[in-house]
């Protein structure tokens, strides 16, 4: 196998790049952007598990992201709990709320599911925006503490925070890899392919859809908690649907339902939009058409496009091989 297409080589290179990044580019601003990109990617992975692998497009994902952020915010700022305990609780509480919402949302399908979850997302935003006693309303929550030092490791410096996000990011990628390559992951794919087919294999689609939904909210909550711990200030705008659509864009550009898609999409867009910062809002004039073209020509994003090319090439090779065999057979027979 070519060294450039060897997966192990690419993955090792990327991990090394992640480790040495703060030394190559010792620029605090870029470090900040990279840390955020890790956090967004985790949220996108959650969305991809549900929308990509299971085929249920949730538009409440930004809402669950905000729930994770607000749980850690409320626990640390209002109840003055320690950071790590709150950090642990945030995705769990998000998952619990996800479970309850999922029970209702999954009674719908396809675009009805998308519309239903869009409404749920908006309600989450409204609750956060209006419930001043709990969430601080439009003023938000200020002063979320830094993570407490673990032994000799403190998280004061941006570099330390970068590495913390990087480590959690790697863990999440590993966990997602295990999920999508397990029977459970293939069960999700079976549901996406055809729910009737899944049912006729004896798969309980109800249970597995709920599992996918709950898992996706877990990663949204985790990303939200990381965001709150990193930025240390949260306002209701993080629950707004823009976040959902940002995450959606990252996922679609990278490749919906592909394993590497969330990383590719998130980092690509975050980096490009940083470099187009000088265009201000006009950069959407570039993004919009690009996104449209991508969806027309490769609905499964960049990674999906590459996968399709490889698949087609293999198929052609096999067809020509089969043709050759047949020809030889006829020649031998005749």
């Amino acid at each position: 196998m070519n060294i450039l297409t060897n997966k192990k080589v690419i993955i090792s290179l990327l991990i090394v790049l992640g480790i040495v990044f703060p030394f190559i580019i010792p620029n605090l601003y870029y470090l900040h952007i990279m840390t955020l990109a890790f956090i967004w990617t985790i949220a996108v992975y959650g969305l991809n598990l549900l929308a990509g692998y299971t085929g249920y497009l949730s538009l409440a994902h930004g809402g669950f992201f905000a729930i994770g952020a607000y749980v850690i915010g409320i626990l640390t700022v209002k109840l003055e709990m320690g950071f790590w305990l709150s950090f642990l609780l945030a995705p769990l509480v998000t998952m619990f709320i996800g479970l309850i919402i999922g029970l209702f949302a999954l009674r719908t399908k396809e675009h009805f599911f998308a519309i239903y979850t869009l409404c749920v997302g908006y309600i989450i935003y409204l609750v956060i925006d209006k419930w001043e006693g709990l969430t601080g309303g439009v003023r938000g929550l200020i002063g979320i503490p830094l993570p407490e030092a673990i032994g000799p490791i403190s998280f004061q410096s941006p570099t330390a925070q970068y590495y913390l996000a990087f480590i959690i990011f790697l863990l999440v990628v590993a966990v997602i890899y295990r999920i999508v390559h397990s029977l459970t992951g293939r069960t999700f794919v079976a549901i996406r392919n055809s729910e009737d087919l899944a049912l006729s294999l004896g798969i309980s689609t109800k249970r597995n859809k709920l599992l996918a939904f709950v898992l996706s909210t877990f990663f949204a909550g985790l990303a939200g908690a990381m965001y709150a711990g990193f930025i240390r200030f949260i306002g209701p705008e993080i629950a707004y649907t823009t976040i959902t659509f940002d995450l959606l864009t990252y996922m679609i550009v990278g490749g919906i339902g592909t394993f590497a898609g969330p990383i590719v999409g998130t980092f690509l867009i975050v980096i490009i939009s940083q470099n187009l910062q000088f265009l201000q809002d006009y950069r959407m004039l570039i993004f919009g058409p690009l996104l449209t073209l991508l969806i027309i020509f490769s609905p499964r994003g960049i990674v999906g496009f590459i996968q399709m090319q490889l698949y087609q090439r293999k198929r052609k090779k096999q067809e020509s091989l089969a043709y050759k065999n047949r020809e030889e057979e006829t020649n031998a027979g005749g």
């Binding site: 029977l183 293939r186 069960t187 794919v189 079976a190 392919n193 055809s194 009737d196 087919l197 049912l199 006729s200 294999l201 004896g202 798969i203 309980s204 689609t205 698949y311 293999k314 198929r315 096999q318 089969a322």
Partner: protein, 235 residues
């Protein structure tokens, strides 16, 4: 083993079945004949629970199953192999087969044995076990679809048009394999348009017309019936 008694169901606007009565005894191969849209697939969907019967009873080993959820019906031992060979095109052959064994997922040893059995039945699948299912030829895909249904170790297998779109030589092999599966103890309900091939391995058959059963009898009776010969065999 399986008994449909006055079963009616609706599927979409035009496809419906009315007052269907079918009786399958353990160990048999029973054929449902009929043109496209005659109601064979709708009957299958109703048996496997994907479609709810609007009236009538379906009994499996004397237990009513017409209100049972589809995944429970699979666990009871009825497995459907759908008409359009719905595979998971991007999964490997082996992964497709393992999905078929989903209900036995905790019994690893049994799954290994079933996989072995399928590979014995269809050696080509063993050769291609790591290939993506979408890269297989039509005949191989059909073998994989049957193999996947076999992985669930069903008591009753519903096969919907296994010969559709296949070359005559492959069709012959396919029916040979179906006979083998039957001889190993799986009861088979087979929907077919290829009446001659199907009746030659079956014990009895039902002829569907416009969502109703127009004719029924033993395989020999149907094979010698003038109308059947005219409509399905062309002689």
């Amino acid at each position: 083993m399986l008994k449909l008694d006055g079963v009616s169901a609706k599927y979409g606007k035009y496809l419906s079945i009315k007052d269907i009565g079918i009786d399958v005894t353990q160990g048999e191969i029973v054929v449902l004949l009929g043109a496209n849209g005659a109601g064979k697939s709708t009957t299958f969907k109703t048996i496997s629970g994907l479609l709810k019967a609007s009236s009538g009873k379906i009994l499996f080993n004397d237990e009513p199953i017409h209100q049972t959820a589809p995944e429970k019906i699979v666990q009871m031992g009825i497995v459907q192999c759908a008409e359009d060979r719905k595979l998971f095109p991007y999964m490997s052959v082996e992964q497709n087969l393992m999905m078929g064994g989903y209900i036995h997922r905790k019994r690893k040893a049994q799954l290994k044995q079933s996989l072995h059995d399928v590979f014995e039945l269809f050696p080509i699948l063993h050769e291609k076990r790591n290939e993506a299912a979408g890269l297989l030829s039509g005949g191989q895909q059909q073998m994989l679809a049957i193999g996947r249904a076999y992985m669930a170790k069903p008591k009753l297998m519903l096969l919907d048009e296994p010969s559709i779109g296949l070359a005559p030589l492959i069709v012959e092999q396919m029916f040979e394999s179906i006979k083998n599966i039957n001889q190993e103890g799986t009861t088979i309900l087979l929907a077919e348009q290829n009446a001659f091939a199907a009746l030659s391995i079956a014990k009895k058959g039902y002829v569907f017309e416009n969502g109703q059963i127009a004719l029924q009898g033993t395989a020999d009776e149907l094979l010698s019936n003038q109308e059947v010969r005219k409509a399905y065999i062309g002689a």
